[in-house]
Symmetry: C2
Subunit: 358 residues, 2 copies
């Protein structure tokens, strides 16, 4: 074996690459022989404590990543990119995805989708990196996007790098080659509206999401279908668009309660907006559910914290995270998928915020 | 360059390792030449769409991980291991850690600390892997533990693999060489208790955590110090231990309200226990804060969802996550730390659950 061969072999066996320090450089820094460095790396115990400390320090100084013994090439690392990590929604999705990843022996790296423009400009940091830069720089093996709308250029970059992508709750119709996982938004909204109709309500208002959001459109359609099935035509003044947050829920419900003929029930398409709705109802001197019934959407933990506990449409967020991971693994294995769109069932959770019409 | 050299060089340049498929194997599977595989890997556009598809499929079949162009050796991946990922506490810690990691150009992989015993036994899965197996199998560069008590054997394995570790909110005194990040639990409890004393309360009960938890002991001590400063000796019947969850909070407050001389104020050492306490107060036909004042600890989002909004001691969870990441990076860089224990300040957030003694 020639000199170059030996050096290359050393790099491969120890898991270092061209850009990383060689064992010789580390030995030089530590003031020991290459074979001593090798002994430390291989966990041999015939090295004194002092020498080991010197080598460890040199390894750290060279940012040497020990990969040999512990790195198993069967272990994959995929990326979960979400619009934010705070709150119950991302926590549930991440929790479900991690559990499925544990089963599949995949590691999950987490990221917030920052736009290149909004990125901070820290010295030596990652100024201007968008999430695609970030996942590609490590050599991502696959990406799950949660409430993140990928730009076509971002999808093209992932495609070019042969990185498969699964989208949870796409905001708009994803391209045909992008796999998505969602819930039965239409059916969930249909069931929520039917629940209110069955309790005698007829003047049922809808607070939905932004009109361009795919899942907001599906929920709106579910509401209209249930109303139509009960022989009720559309009442445009009862339909409002919010932005899924508490403040917008309060604002829209205030407007609904100010109508000449206010609704007797509210179907509000997110738990956070529904909690805002509670505030507006309380401000108006009314009570939930005695004066007005409220149904939410999501079933986040906060739906149980509020008083009265919120009747809501449960999205199986953990299962969605798990399903996204399993789908990604199938794509990585080159398996065929039956369908590029997976919809997991919602369920109506009846609590204390809905009552028969008085 | 000899034949072996060329092969090795190819492996290094393309980022494959000994265990991975060679370009020749991939070429054979795809039925194309090695140079064609190379062209596809290097993103050249002089390859037909059909050929590219064949090569892509072969790359996937061999689980070939493309690392060449995109993998930057300066990018580190560290592990965040928590007792669970559900809920606001882990979400806040993960969010703060991810933001700091973005700045430092570090990737964060998330894990739930499962014990080897409790691990599921899925076929081909990770049956029996504990978190140390899991972080070492990928070649972790550093670990942050959140509400996870590392066993001495686990710490020894990390030490042997030269993987530094930072513990957030250690449950017991960590060994001197383990760095920890926490909050000023004593000072936070002192301030909460003083707030109630200043409002005229004297019979102030404490619902703290398990007596063996380091931070529960610090909070208990803060309560006792504030009471002593007001000239009030210990009243053992007013001190109760819960387990940080809602049900235990309700249970302990029920017991306190059943005392011959019940307290007029409750300092409850977690927001979730405080919310359970609200239930017990309501069951007893009493009102917060008119009949009894309540202070929590954590300032999770749910402290603002409940009614009345909870006065609580804010733990800077995001900052704790960020601080843990930055500390880990310093350890990776071989920097000296001033202290192995970092405590971030708590702040009392006064909302609507506390009132002057009537």
């Amino acid at each position: 074996m020639c000199e170059k061969c030996r050096e290359n072999r050393e790099r491969i066996v120890t898991g270092t690459s061209m850009q990383r320090a060689t064992l010789a450089q580390i030995a030089e820094t530590a003031g020991v022989s290459v074979s001593t460095v090798s002994k430390v790396l291989n966990g041999r115990d015939d090295v004194s404590r002092d020498t080991r400390a010197k080598v460890d320090s040199a390894l750290r100084r060279h940012r040497y990543v020990r990969r040999g013994a512990s790195l198993d090439p069967a272990v994959r690392t995929v990326d979960l990119v979400m619009s934010g990590l705070d709150g119950s929604w991302p926590a549930s999705v991440a929790s479900g995805m991690e559990a499925a990843a544990y089963e599949a022996r995949v590691h999950v790296s987490i990221h917030v989708a920052r736009s290149a423009r909004s990125a901070p400009h820290a010295a030596g940091g990652t100024a201007g990196q968008d999430w695609v830069d970030r996942v590609l720089e490590r050599g991502s093996e696959g990406v799950v996007l949660g409430l993140v709308e990928p730009a076509s250029g971002q999808l093209a970059r992932l495609r070019q790098a042969d990185v498969p992508c699964v989208v949870i709750d796409p905001l708009s119709d994803p391209p045909p080659d992008v796999v998505s996982v969602g819930t039965t938004n239409w059916a969930g909204a249909y069931e929520a509206t039917s629940h209110l109709l069955q309790r005698g309500h007829r003047r049922i208002a809808l607070v939905t999401g932004p009109p361009d959001h795919l899942y907001a459109r599906a929920r709106t359609a579910g509401y209209h279908s249930a109303m139509a099935a009960a022989g009720l035509g559309p009442a445009p003044e009862l339909i409002r668009n919010g932005t899924y947050d508490r403040a917008s829920g309060a604002e829209q419900v205030r407007a609904l309660l100010a109508l000449p003929e206010p609704p007797t029930a509210l179907f509000i398409c997110s738990d956070h907006m529904a909690i805002g709705g509670y505030e507006a109802v309380s401000e108006a001197g009314l009570r939930v559910p005695e004066d007005i019934s409220v149904v939410g959407f999501d079933d986040l933990p906060e739906a149980r914290w509020v008083s009265p506990a919120l009747t809501t449409v449960r999205q199986p967020l953990k299962e969605m995270g798990g399903s996204a991971l399993r789908t990604l693994v199938r794509l990585l294995n080159g398996d065929e998928l039956e369908t590029p769109r997976i919809e997991l069932a919602t369920t109506l959770v009846v609590r204390d915020s809905t009552a028969p019409l008085r």
